[in-house]
């Protein structure tokens, strides 16, 4: 009896201790096998590179939901092809849209950065710190072995990103030109409500405000209740869209030249006009009273439910298609396409109307300093392929003959219908790894996709609406004047102030009960204490050199 008891006690203790030991042993997603100890060597010879390319390399990739993208090893033909062609085994380091920045900083602090990772930090203080402290490595100076990568790095909006004569990142391009951003910020409006209330297409701020107020007050849905809002936003941060009508540079973070001096857009003298307009919309009940607390898809849901007359959002065919899916969850008299219109933001005080533009990339790929030259060569070969026409075609449309066919110059998708939903099958259902390869090196550019493919993906009506507006806006709206050299210039104070969450302060001023000018002056005072003036001085000194 006693021995039995003693035995169980010993076993219980040992089990508990082993549990503790296991818990201590694991440290985040990294295991010892994934971090090569070789330090970057600048003198890898062609011979060693060649030798290295013969062995299989494990490459860890930090990317949004990459665990799901790489889950089907064995049955995912695209993953098999990539791993076989480049003799690489991918190891996922996953993060989500809500925690990517936090996770990467933690990995950085604990020396566990994956070999490749994507994030948006170029020009930030973290970026400069990580370069200085050798957490990320530069691209080789000579990129001629990777022509598609080289071509990308020579673009004017990319060239300005060199630091100390080297590139420490590879931008994830969203298209060949900065015009592709056209639909990334605009106002989606209920055309049927406009017709019902007899509102003509507005141009000036006053006209827009009157329209939003009518949506909020004149019961456009005819249910006898005052339950609609005028203008809402996709997320609180989307209020920056509305600065296109006053201080457009604030929208893309460009610096403006006023009286011969470079200023960050937030310090421009037109900034107060924009903040005042937003405050006026809020106070007058034209702006959604809950705009500052919207989360996830709240904004889109509001619009789709018929509770908002207008929304500041992306209006790309992709985004419209997503809103349409939400719209179809609720009952409406008319189809989504017949109920909406896309409008630009109102004209500024000089009568100019602007459209969004920015550097033709959003976020960048970074490479851990632990990646040696041989592995870097393999990674760059992969990127070169993903940036090539063939690579792009593979990750966008799948395998020729199986997933699409060429009918003359026309590309015809042959993925077939989904039996459950009746809609078209998505490439991601067949090859989940497109979730990684489709946007690792560059984004899918629906803007420039063949018309037949766009129609296949988003439906004819949405594509027609987009294309009509595209042609019109490229002619009639001005792109935000942007000097990329100043935008990407790095100085200590400029990098520091770039981390200030300006939108938060704008929201604070909008919701405050005080005077807008007084409140905004306080905000600027606070920025000055954080180095705004120093940043201006540094940038002007650099630009005058």
């Amino acid at each position: 009896m006693f021995t039995q008891k003693r035995k169980s006690l010993v076993i219980a203790s040992l089990l508990t201790m082993s549990l503790v030991a296991t818990a201590c042993g694991s440290s985040g997603p990294a295991t010892s096998s994934n971090t090569p100890t070789a330090s970057p060597s600048a003198t890898a010879t062609a011979a060693t590179t060649k030798a290295a390319s013969e062995e299989n390399l494990e490459v860890s990739v930090g990317f949004w939901d990459v665990d799901k993208a790489l889950a089907n090893r064995g049955s995912d033909d695209m993953l098999t092809k990539m791993e076989k062609d480049f003799n690489i085994t991918f190891k996922p380091y996953t993060y989500s849209w809500s925690d990517y920045s936090e996770k990467l900083k933690l990995w950085g602090a604990s020396g566990e950065l994956p070999d490749i990772f994507s994030t948006d930090m170029v020009g930030s203080s973290t970026y400069n710190q990580w370069i200085e402290q050798e957490l990320i490595r530069p691209l080789p100076d000579d990129l001629s072995a990777y022509p598609n990568v080289q071509k990308l790095m020579q673009r004017p909006d990319v060239k300005a990103l060199q630091k100390n004569g080297s590139f420490y990142m590879l931008p994830r391009s969203s298209g060949p030109s900065t015009d592709a951003w056209l639909f990334d910020r605009a106002i989606l409006v209920r055309k049927d409500w406009m017709d019902k209330l007899g509102i003509k297409e507005p141009k000036s701020f006053q006209e827009y405000e009157a329209m939003f107020k009518s949506f909020a007050e004149k019961d456009p849905d005819g249910n006898g209740k005052k339950d609609t809002v005028g203008l809402t936003v996709k997320l609180p941060g989307f209020i920056d869209t509305l600065f296109l009508g006053s201080n457009p540079a604030y929208m893309n973070g460009a610096w403006v030249n006023e009286d011969g001096k470079w200023l960050p857009s937030v310090a421009s003298k037109t900034m107060i006009d924009g903040v005042s307009q937003l405050k006026q919309l809020y106070v007058d009940g034209a702006l959604d009273p809950d705009f500052s607390i919207l989360k996830n898809l709240d904004g889109w849901e509001k619009f789709a439910q018929g509770k908002a007359g207008a929304i500041a959002s992306q209006v790309t065919p992709n985004a419209l298609n997503d809103i349409k899916k939400l719209w179809e969850k609720y009952e409406h008299d008319k189809s989504f396409e017949d109920s909406i219109a896309i409008l630009p933001v109102w004209t500024d005080k000089d009568g100019n109307a602007y459209r969004f533009t920015g550097a033709a990339f959003w976020s960048e790929s970074y490479f851990s300093a632990k990646v040696d030259d041989a592995k870097m060569d393999r990674i760059l070969k992969l990127y070169d392929y993903l940036l090539s026409d063939d690579g792009r075609k593979l990750v966008d449309y799948g395998f020729e003959g199986k997933d699409f066919k060429m009918d003359g110059t026309n590309l015809v998708v042959t993925l077939g219908k989904d039996e459950k939903t009746g809609g078209n099958k998505a490439l991601g259902d067949i090859y989940p790894s497109t979730g990684l390869f489709g946007s690792l090196a560059s984004w899918y550019d629906s803007f420039n996709a063949p018309l037949s493919v766009q129609i296949e993906q988003f439906g004819e009506k949405i594509v027609m609406i987009s294309n009509e507006k595209k042609d019109e806006w490229l002619k009639s709206l001005k792109p935000i004047p942007t000097n990329y050299d100043v935008m990407f210039l790095s100085t200590p104070a400029k990098d520091k102030i770039s981390a200030i969450p300006f939108n938060d302060d704008i929201i604070k001023v909008i919701l405050s009960k005080g005077d807008v000018q007084v409140d905004w002056n306080k905000v600027i005072e606070d920025y000055n204490s954080k180095g705004l003036q120093t940043a201006i001085d540094e940038v002007n000194a650099q630009m005058n050199k």
């Binding site: 003693r6 006690l9 010993v10 219980a12 203790s13 508990t16 201790m17 549990l19 503790v20 201590c24 920045s101 936090e102 900083k105 950085g108 602090a109 020396g111 930090m121 930030s124 203080s125 973290t126 710190q129 990580w130 402290q133 050798e134 957490l135 339950d227 809002v229 609180p236 959604d288 009273p289 809950d290 500052s292 607390i293 989360k295 509770k307 300093a369 981390a499 200030i500 969450p501 939108n503 938060d504 302060d505 929201i507 604070k508 909008i510 919701l511 405050s512 606070d526 204490s529």
Partner: protein, 318 residues
């Protein structure tokens, strides 16, 4: 001679030690059982503490915690000259002491009331209903609350129906802190009563019987028997609550409910550190310095509350 006295001294000091070891050997299996917990505390609580030294260093990712250079209290100097820091500290103290004064008594009062319910079934019913919200995380509760408190949420619909003006509790700085207290009371009151009810269950029932015979009413019994019976528990929990003042402002609740419009009243040290570290990409050393400052203030508050309790004739926790 010297050798002798030395060996004599050693014999004297080893005797109790040997006794202790013997006792430990006798209870060796109990010690074995305690070992994992001890290991847990050493590995996860004590060893990582060396990391706080980065509060005094310019943290360098490549050089690590030990290799980074010392920076002559630069983080602390920067912290104390930052106007935002004092503002956030004030918010933390206002919210934390608000919780002590407003939220702390609720579970006590509720436990006293529950104790008076005669029917055991109703007692269990109320306890279950009031304890349930504790098991929902703040993420879920914040979603429910947002829907309830939105401009067109249920609360405003009811208010409008009754002819009142709409309220915006989530975005109005003047009502946000009150909303924090109310929702936290709703969520945690039932859970908080458990310890008090346990203390009440430990009161000798003959005391109540004797009091009844002496003709004491319900209120008198509550005042003269129940309250003295749980007083020491209340004091211990109060000391712990004071000791957790700076951390007890409630990161989870505030982080999930606040927005830039109410930063002026709701931004506390924890949310401030979080935003600085992960959104604004501040130096880890600086945020550690703020965290360390918070812990030291907490520690001081804990000791003072304990001292105060002892002075007032209660037992204290150490």
């Amino acid at each position: 001679m010297a050798m002798n006295s030395l060996s004599g001294g050693t014999t004297v000091s080893t005797r109790p030690m040997r006794k202790l070891l013997e006792r430990m050997w006798q209870a060796r299996y109990l010690y074995l059982l305690v070992l994992p917990l001890l290991a847990y505390y050493v590995i996860f609580q004590y060893l990582p503490m060396y990391g706080v030294i980065i509060a005094f260093k310019s943290y360098n990712f490549a050089k690590g915690i030990i290799g980074s250079p010392w920076n002559d209290f630069e983080h602390f100097r920067y912290m104390f000259q930052l106007p935002q820091f004092w503002h956030v500290l004030k918010n933390t103290l206002v919210i934390a002491f608000g919780r002590l004064i407003i939220e702390f008594p609720f579970p006590i009062v509720f436990a006293l009331l529950l104790h008076e319910i005669r029917s055991a079934r109703w007692k269990r019913f109320y306890q279950t209903v009031f304890t349930f919200p504790h098991f929902l995380s703040w993420i879920i509760v914040s979603g429910i609350l947002s829907n309830f408190l939105y401009d067109m949420g249920m609360l405003n619909q009811i208010l409008q129906y009754l002819g009142f003006q709409k309220v915006s509790l989530l975005t109005d700085p003047s009502s946000f802190v009150g909303m924090l207290f109310t929702t936290n009371i709703w969520k945690e009151m039932g859970w908080g009563t458990i310890i008090y009810l346990a203390a009440m269950a430990g009161i000798d029932p003959t005391l109540y019987e004797a009091a009844s015979i002496d003709g004491a009413g319900r209120l008198q019994k509550m005042r003269m028997i129940t309250w003295p019976g749980i007083k020491s528990t209340v004091v211990v929990l109060f000391i712990l609550a004071v000791g957790n003042t700076m951390g007890g402002a409630g990161f989870d609740q505030i982080f999930n409910l606040y927005n830039p419009g109410v930063y002026s009243v709701a931004d506390i040290l924890d949310t401030f550190i979080y935003r600085l570290t992960f959104y604004e990409g501040s130096d880890f050393g600086f945020t550690t310095a703020v965290g360390l400052f918070k812990s030291i203030v907490n520690c001081l508050l804990l000791f003072s509350a304990n001292l105060l309790a002892k002075r007032m004739g209660e037992r204290g926790i150490f």
